[in-house]
């Protein structure tokens, strides 16, 4: 059973005096249960709108189908909301209340015990500042309190929208570690929306990429990376110019030596790296280095979304 299943979901914002704005355009999204699923897309691609639709905050256009933990949204949302924790954009708490009181009020509303509040404050390392008012918190502390609130329900599905915002490097590391552990615990599915491509690459098992309100790529991170992979090889030999001539004669596309030392080549579109090794050795050029140029998620993302930036 997928944790999230969206089929042909559209959302058009209509504001008086402005043309309609299509935020989601027949979006299909499947997030399988378990693990960490990344949610990636340029600004305005529809990530936050998707999350708001999932949580029943925004009403989608008629026609699509949404299921959250197998319950239809929004009709069945009350049945599963107790198993869904969410942090959407900035944490929304009452500024005049302490961090602890803000969590206690949410816990009371859902019948969660006070002991659980203390556990979650401990988890995000806020117990010492729990009696301080929320408005006195730093951005990072606010974000940590938001994460604590999302964890209160010990959710089966945890939706985190930009959870690293405002955190210091140690905080970012801890949040990522926490997300990884949650994803690996076998009972929690984490949907992580982030603009930090490295974060998605480090933390997520699978990823969906949104562009212009549509899901343009989805699958395990390694597969999505492979779509952006170039098949390029970085080759280092004692005489790069001569080696380039040999490879060009053999039909390979070779870029001029890229390194100032004149010993490094870039060979494009190589289906079998062993062939390069064999040809160069046959002509007396012995390799000092042969490195596949691996695609990172940023490259894949830009290639898939067609974003020139």
């Amino acid at each position: 059973m997928p944790a999230v299943h969206m089929t042909s979901v559209s959302k058009t914002y209509r504001r008086r005096g402005r043309p309609p704005q299509k935020a989601l355009d027949s979006l299909d999204l499947v997030v399988d249960s378990g693990g960490v699923h990344g949610f990636l897309g340029p600004n305005g691609s529809g990530k936050t709108t998707s999350i708001r639709v999932l949580l029943g905050l925004v009403r989608p256009d008629p026609g699509g189908e949404i299921r959250l933990l197998d319950a239809p949204v929004p009709a069945g949302l009350p049945d599963v909301i107790g198993a869904v924790g969410a942090l959407v954009e900035t944490p929304l708490f009452f500024p005049g209340f302490s961090g602890r009181l803000n969590l206690q009020l949410l816990a009371e509303a859902a019948g969660v015990s006070r002991a659980r509040v203390e556990e979650c404050l401990e988890t995000v390392d806020l117990r010492d500042r729990a009696e301080d008012r929320f408005k006195g918190y730093s951005l990072g502390m606010k974000q940590r309190l938001g994460i604590a609130a999302a964890l209160l329900k010990a959710p089966r599905l945890l939706i985190l929208d930009e959870p690293s915002n405002g955190l210091d490097p140690a905080g970012i590391r801890d949040v990522r570690e926490l997300i990884r552990r949650l994803g690996a615990d076998g009972r929690t599915t984490v949907l992580l929306s982030s603009h930090l491509l490295a974060e998605i690459q480090q933390v997520c098992d699978s990823v969906s990429i949104l562009a212009r309100g549509r899901c343009v790529a989805s699958g395990p991170v390694s597969e999505v990376l492979a779509r952006g992979a170039s098949g390029d090889l970085r080759v280092r030999v004692p005489d790069a110019a001569a080696a380039a001539a040999v490879l060009s004669a053999a039909g390979f596309a070779v870029a001029p030596p890229e390194h100032p030392d004149g010993r490094t080549l870039l060979v494009h579109g190589v289906p079998a790296p062993g062939e390069v090794t064999r040809i160069l050795a046959a002509h007396g050029h012995y390799l000092e280095e042969l490195t596949p140029v691996t695609a990172d998620l940023e490259s894949a993302f830009l290639a898939i979304t067609g974003d020139p930036a």
Binding site: L55, P78, F94, G96, L101, L105, G111, R116, T123, R144
Partner: protein
């Protein structure tokens, strides 16, 4: 977050997830709001100040006070007699008495009404005091109602609550219920405050004249209507702030209505006065309702007297008008909350 990065163990569903208790949480939230606490503390200080002022204002007159009062009455009677004599001189012959009226004597005046320090008279003051306390509590309740939801919109914590309770009607219903109960409690507390103040004044500086039969029943009815007014005011404040989604703007709208619109109506369209909220509020709490005289419109009767147009707003009619206004304002806000996207 360096101390612990493990997710806390999930609570067993049977232990951690007892039946949701949104109402209890909302009562807790209401009690914890600092601004509301400050307003209630200010009300308590106001009550203490009123008691102290009352203790200085009322008292048993001494012989000097009574002598001064009698002298003032005598001077007034003398003045009246001078005017009457002038009237009699100018009146058409044979019609002096009907033209100038009977002679005024000192026996027609109560000495107590002319002494600067009079004893507190519960019978005379009970109804007015109850209405005064009711009006003050209603103003306070309007402010509390507006800030109760306005601050929630300002911090957007009402949106956060939807992550926990996605049924929006349930969320609003809980908030309205909590406010209505709190407003009723405030209204009752205000009336108890008035009774306590009246009791202190009666014991310390009041008359001990026996109260007429039916006194307590009439007072209780007035106080009950005052409590109803406090609840309506709180709901109206809530509804307005929920519609506009901002406390300050809601109070601004309230100010414009009460300070400008109502006065403009009284001057330009006096016949619309029965629809004004302040008139209906007064009509709700005043024993027997409110009689409004429109001095702009009159007819002349057979004797040539001007008969001004009058409007009478009864208690029930006023209650219905205020109830409908509160229900419409709240209903509209809740409907928009139910239907609109929330960001």
């Amino acid at each position: 977050m360096s101390a612990v990065v493990e997710q806390p163990p999930a609570p067993a569903r049977d232990e951690g997830y007892v039946h949701p208790s949104l109402l209890r949480a909302e009562f807790h939230r209401f009690r914890s709001r600092r601004f509301i606490q400050v307003l209630l503390a200010a009300a308590l200080v106001g009550w203490l100040a009123a008691v102290v002022i009352g203790l200085f204002q009322f008292g048993e007159p001494d012989e000097g006070d009574l002598a001064a009062a009698r002298a003032e009455i005598a001077q007034m009677v003398e003045q009246q007699e001078v005017w009457r004599q002038q009237c009699l001189d100018d009146a058409p012959p044979g019609e002096e008495e009907s033209f100038c009226g009977p002679e005024i004597t000192a026996a027609e005046f109560r000495t107590e009404d002319f002494v600067g320090t009079a004893p507190f008279d519960l019978e005379q003051s009970a109804s007015g005091g109850a209405m005064g306390f009711g009006a003050a509590a209603a103003a306070l309740a309007f402010l509390i109602g507006a800030t109760w939801i306005g601050a929630e919109w300002s911090s957007r914590s009402v949106v956060a609550l939807l992550f926990w309770v996605p049924r929006r009607m349930q969320v609003m219903g809980a908030k309205v219920t909590v406010l209505a109960v709190a407003a009723a409690a405030l209204g009752v507390a205000a009336q108890l405050g008035w009774l306590a103040m009246a009791w202190i004044l009666r014991i310390a500086v009041g008359t001990d004249d026996p109260l007429p039969s039916g006194f307590w029943g009439d007072l209780l009815a007035t106080q009950g209507r005052c409590v109803l007014l406090v609840v309506f005011a709180a709901l109206a404040g809530f509804g307005l702030a929920n519609l506009i989604r901002n406390t300050g703007a809601a109070l601004g709208v309230g100010f414009v209505y009460f300070a400008i619109v109502e006065n403009a109506v009284r001057v330009m369209r006096p016949e619309w006065q029965p629809a004004l909220l302040t008139n209906n509020a007064a009509a709700l709490v005043a024993p027997g309702g409110l009689r409004i005289v429109d001095y702009e419109n009159f007819t002349v009767d057979a004797d040539g007297n001007q008969v001004f147009e009058e409007f009478v707003i009864g208690n029930l009619q006023a209650g219905i008008v205020l109830g409908v206004v509160a229900a419409v304002v709240i209903g509209l806000g809740v409907l928009l909350f139910q239907r609109r996207d929330v960001h």
